[in-house]
Assembly symmetry: C2
Homo-oligomer: 333 residues x 2
DNA sequence: AGCTAACATGTAATCGATTACAAAGCGCAG
DNA sequence: CTGCGCTTTGTAATCGATTACATGTTAGCT
């Protein structure tokens, strides 16, 4: 390579990574040689020397879940132009044991980490107190208690409150809620928002109207069965995810009930299928692409700086209610 | 590190990567030092020396599409335990221009490539004839004409035929088809299967009953509008993707038509929502996880071998029809 | 002319692991 | 006791780019 262009390897390197410092003529000679040989820089070598990897890891709780794919797309959208590769890890996979995951991070594999799962491998956490050079970490969607890390989230409580107020606005006075998985931060934030709004509106809070769930289609269907079994049923139900809302409506429909005639349903997320479900889903829209993009932007910024200095940032993106067909007026009675 | 264990760096390296060649005592000493210092190997350096990267790239046509996420999950499931990182690239992103993508591959970033998109960046293809060390490549789902590359696919034509036969079995004699995007290999394979089955069953092939589409919800809805506009309508429609089937049914439902009473619909893919859609979707089930897993297995095998030697392999995974509610008996008349 | 500053380029060290090769230690057979 | 072979370990070269430092060149100024 260097020989072909008639210069030293140092000059080649400079022509490629700092074109401004070499003379016009040399630059051309080098570029020409590059073109002729089809030379491709060896990133491994560059990264070794620069002490970085040019990759960021994204920990995804469940790759099969369509909710996350758009966020990933947002991340990729920002990371790729910035010269970072996106490495994905499915944390729900069995291999994802302590050690394994840890390996993924220790700066040797990636320069930073975005967690969509609200957790970190234990091994990583233990490193924390050692103030031992952890790579920059940003949480998106979910997060960990403690305010230690930067995060990009939405106002879950506000979203939940919007859902409840919407139903109240339609005349509903008995409102139920299908929860996400126990122990999840989103679950509790949305639950909190729901309860707060219910209290605010002087509506009844009935324990039986709070159904267990885990964000999945299946759990929505199970909630529907619980709803069916009730003596006194809420006339509207706010589900903490669209998937559960779909499962809920689907199960009811199999039992001959219809939405919104028999019960109004509001979801959360506004996944793609929401507007095409039958009935189309009233839901709380999250800017999924933006969440990913913001998280990536934040992370890359941190990687650029001396990571240590930066204090944790919290970015809250707006949500909005999208009224569709699954919610309607309460039966007057 | 080496100092702490009282041995040379060479011995440390051996203890870690080839434990069998060092003596019991030394090995223990090294492992002990590793434990005490929390030493993590620098993969960049190792990869530089070994002339590999330990990563595979997956080119995804559209990360936002839920169909692909499960395939990705399958890939990750196999790749991670084998010590490979999974790098994703969204080929539909604007940045994904020729050069950019190329950079991703040239062995410096990844040891191999899985393409879910049925294409390769042009720059890569040009390399082909040069027999210039291309990394191993495996196609999954979609593929490129020419049999040059290994691929893991399903029998699309057979799937389409199953769908048509199923509808025929329910008494339908006028059957339509919503196509995928033009120029796509899946589109043509499914179309071919559809036509073959129609001919086989002595059913009419009416050009107006073949609707354009692109696998998306939106295009399914548009096909529904086209169906509505027809003078003579098919009594059953086979959609080349579940998303289109959902869009189709959704649009009809808004216009007051219902499925399967007014028209039977069969989809393709069996995405998660299919069984919870209303009506639940009769569809051709693809083993999405397995497709990803097989592709990864195949690729990793190739990476292990001297890549050159291996002839292209074609693996065809079975599909099956899942009969649900969206298809029913044709109106007798 | 003489001196300095600015620029362009080459030389060689460096990143951190791997590994070819050499050497040392040891056992065993002749 | 010598020599061959085996195991274990150390020395130093290597992977391919980057970059501190040194050197050489030219322009500009007094």
């Amino acid at each position: 390579m260097a020989r072909l262009a008639g210069v030293s390897t140092a000059t080649v390197s400079r022509a490629i990574s700092t074109p401004s410092v070499v003379s016009e003529a040399t630059r051309e000679a080098v570029f020409d040689a590059v073109r002729r040989t089809g030379y491709q820089i060896n990133l491994t070598a560059r990264n070794l020397r620069r002490r970085r990897t040019g990759a960021i890891v994204v920990m995804v709780p469940d790759l099969g879940n369509p909710f996350f794919s758009r966020i990933l797309a947002g991340i990729e959208h920002v990371a790729a132009p910035a010269g970072f590769s996106v490495l994905i890890v499915d944390t729900k996979q069995p291999h994802a044991e302590e050690g394994q995951l840890f390996t993924y991070l220790h700066n040797t594999r990636a320069d930073g980490l975005i967690s969509l799962d609200g957790s970190l491998p234990r091994a990583l956490l233990e490193r924390l107190d050692g103030s031992n050079g952890l790579p920059p970490i940003v949480f998106a969607c979910e997060w960990m208690a403690g305010g230690l890390f930067s995060k990009v989230v939405i106002d879950n409580a506000a979203g939940a409150a919007m859902a409840v107020r919407h139903l109240h606005g339609h005349g509903h006075r008995r409102i139920g809620h299908v929860l996400g998985p126990q122990g999840n931060v989103l679950t509790s934030a949305r639950l909190k928002g729901t309860r707060a709004a219910l209290e605010d509106l002087d509506l009844r809070i009935v324990p039986e109207w709070f159904f267990d769930g885990d964000f999945s289609l299946q759990s929505g269907a199970e909630a529907a069965r619980a709803w069916l079994a009730l003596q006194e049923r809420p006339t509207a139900v706010f589900c903490a995810s669209d998937q559960m809302a779909c499962g809920f409506i689907s199960e009811l429909s199999m039992e001959g009930y219809s939405v919104p005639q028999d019960v109004s349903v509001v979801g959360f997320d506004d996944i793609d299928i929401a507007r095409r479900f039958i009935p189309s889903l009233t839901t709380i829209h999250q800017p999924r692409n933006d969440i990913g993009a913001e998280a990536a932007k934040l992370l890359i910024e941190r990687i650029g700086n001396g990571k240590a200095a930066a204090p944790a940032v919290e970015e809250v993106l707006p949500v909005e209610l999208v009224a569709r067909e699954s919610s309607g007026p309460a039966e007057p009675f």
